[in-house]
């Protein structure tokens, strides 16, 4: 599937059809500490946006706002024209069904096996029969290259397998939007590349809009249509991968080179 050509602020696709997600002036603080300080960003239909940033930059907090897990102090999150921050609980639940989210450590239910984890949303929100559920679960496991692990217990899985089962659970309901929270954290480079490969395949083969947060630049360049840099609760740079490398912003350059900032050294 050809990827949408992107421009720094809003992709052509977003300009044409309206964004899938529009984040407007998002602010959030915890205990007097401002974590998000006025974020504005659009995500186009079918786009893969990757948000990078250092530890404590507010990446996880931001992505949790997108699905309504955290309520902002002010600002708006518009999904398909509906404001998630103003919607009543029933609308919120309905909007959440458009999302699939993969969590940092998978967040798999350890009281269930792999099959039951992936079948959970299907049992909860559809009237599919057992055979259809089994077929869908196996299809999802095939998509993440883990055929035949359905009856494994969650604690038998390696870190990489957990993430992929988490992906399978996230795509089980064929969501329109996929969110990935640090999909590579704590994984070795080879497993990390496998995870990226699975994300790229999903990006290319499924009709989804993706938002991924990571601090792994290699991963970001592999899976992104656009990369945004979050620093101190603000988006400080945003560009397609090929332009992102040459951005003049000193923080971006330091981040790409993996070098400490002068103030951090001092």
């Amino acid at each position: 599937m050809p990827r949408a050509a992107a421009t720094p602020n809003v992709t052509e696709n977003a300009a044409r059809t309206g964004p899938k997600i529009a984040v407007i002036d998002l602010w959030k603080s915890f205990g007097g500490r401002e974590v998000l300080r006025g974020i504005d960003i659009d995500v186009a239909v079918g786009e893969s946006l990757v948000i990078v940033g250092g530890s404590g930059a507010g990446k996880s907090v931001f992505v949790k706002h997108l699905i309504g897990l955290i309520h902002p102090d002010s600002g708006h999150i518009i999904v398909d024209g509906e404001d998630l921050t103003q919607a009543d609980p029933a609308v919120c639940l309905a909007l959440r069904r458009k999302f699939g989210m993969s969590f940092q450590e998978g967040a798999l239910f350890d009281s269930m096996d792999v099959f039951e984890n992936i079948a959970f949303p299907l049992r909860r929100h559809t009237r599919l029969g057992e055979e259809e559920i089994a077929a869908r679960v196996n299809e999802c496991l095939d998509l993440v290259h883990l055929p035949g692990v359905g009856r494994k217990a969650v604690n038998e899985l390696s870190g990489g397998m957990r993430r992929r089962v988490g992906f399978a659970r996230a795509i089980a309901m064929s969501p329109e939007i996929l969110l990935f929270d640090e999909p590579n954290t704590g994984l070795d480079p080879i497993t990390s590349a496998v995870i990226d490969g699975v994300i790229v395949e999903m990006r290319d083969n499924l009709p989804v809009t993706m938002v991924t947060i990571t601090h792994d630049m290699k991963s970001a360049f592999r899976i992104a249509d656009r990369i945004a840099m979050l620093r101190d609760g603000r988006i400080v740079a945003i560009a397609p991968p090929e332009q992102f490398r040459s951005l003049p912003d000193p923080y971006v350059q330091k981040f790409l080179a993996g070098e400490p900032l002068e103030e951090e050294v001092a």
């Binding site: 949790k64 699905i67 309504g68 897990l69 639940l93 309905a94 959440r96 069904r97 999302f99 699939g100 989210m101 969590f103 940092q104 450590e105 967040a107 798999l108 239910f109 350890d110 959970f120 949303p121 909860r124 929100h125 659970r169 309901m173 969110l179």
Partner: protein
């Protein structure tokens, strides 16, 4: 200088007092939030019958040995103590009445609730707490599933519904324990003991005890779920929540026991 120190100490004391009061109000608010949300979500679709049954087995059936043993030995000790005491003024015949009344009205519901607070309150807090810190509760939200409905409603319902039958069983075992000791060990007349056991016992005594049991089940499960649901701070936080759940549930059971006794009897 010392006056300044005194003012600073006073400020510190007020600050601590203020912080503790706020924390206490926050805790009360959370308790009623979970209680209200649980009632709200209990009567909404989808109904997780499998979860209800699973939790009822966990709270009810699996707790039979611990509650049964507690009641049995409490009845035995009651009979032993009261028999020795009543012997002094030749009132041994009333041991059965004292054992049955104190068990059904007070001891069986309260002791069963304290045992369940230790067994179930702690495990609810630990279970929900670890689900919180491993983002499993967030995952439920993300899958458009209300965690209060899926996780808390079946657990609270199970504790509320299973406590009365557990206490009914405890009543029976406690009375039997008392009978066994009085008749078997103290040579009390079995016919007189049995007759006196029921002579002053009203159905109202038993039912009030069972109502207490249901309320205790509700309170201790809401407390355990609340401590787990609002856990922060990783594995250490789960440990803190678990301990706090048992302490708080036990205290709330004892405090509410006073008010329930005042209302019911």
């Amino acid at each position: 200088m010392s006056a300044k120190k005194g003012v600073t100490a006073g400020h510190g004391l007020l600050e601590t007092l203020g912080r503790r009061s706020l924390a206490a109000f926050e805790e009360i608010g959370r308790f009623f939030f979970i209680l209200y949300s649980t009632v709200h979500w209990t009567f909404r679709r989808p109904f997780d019958w499998h979860q209800w049954v699973r939790q009822m087995v966990r709270v009810g059936v699996d707790s039979i040995p611990v509650v049964g043993l507690t009641a049995l030995f409490t009845g035995m000790v009651m009979a032993l103590q009261t028999y020795r005491g009543f012997e002094r003024f030749h009132a041994e015949a009333y041991v059965g009445s004292v054992v049955s009344l104190s068990l059904t009205r007070e001891l069986a519901p309260v002791l069963a609730a304290l045992m369940i607070a230790g067994r179930i309150g702690s495990s609810l807090a630990a279970e929900l707490g670890s689900m919180r810190v491993t983002e499993q509760i967030d995952a439920l939200y993300a899958m458009a599933t209300e965690p209060i409905q899926y996780l808390i409603v079946p657990r609270v319902a199970a504790a509320t519904l299973m406590m009365p039958p557990l206490v009914a069983l405890a009543d029976g075992l406690g009375v039997f324990g008392g009978y066994a000791i009085a008749v078997g060990l103290m040579d009390a007349n079995p016919v007189v003991y049995w007759e006196k056991t029921f002579q002053f016992l009203d159905l109202n005594d038993v039912f009030s005890g069972l109502i207490k049991a249901g309320v205790f089940g509700l309170i201790l499960s809401v407390t355990g779920c609340m401590k787990g649901f609002f856990t922060t701070g990783g594995a250490e936080g789960v440990g803190r929540s678990t301990t706090a759940a048992v302490v708080m549930a036990s205290l709330v059971v004892l405090v509410s026991d006073f008010f329930l006794t005042k209302i019911l009897f």
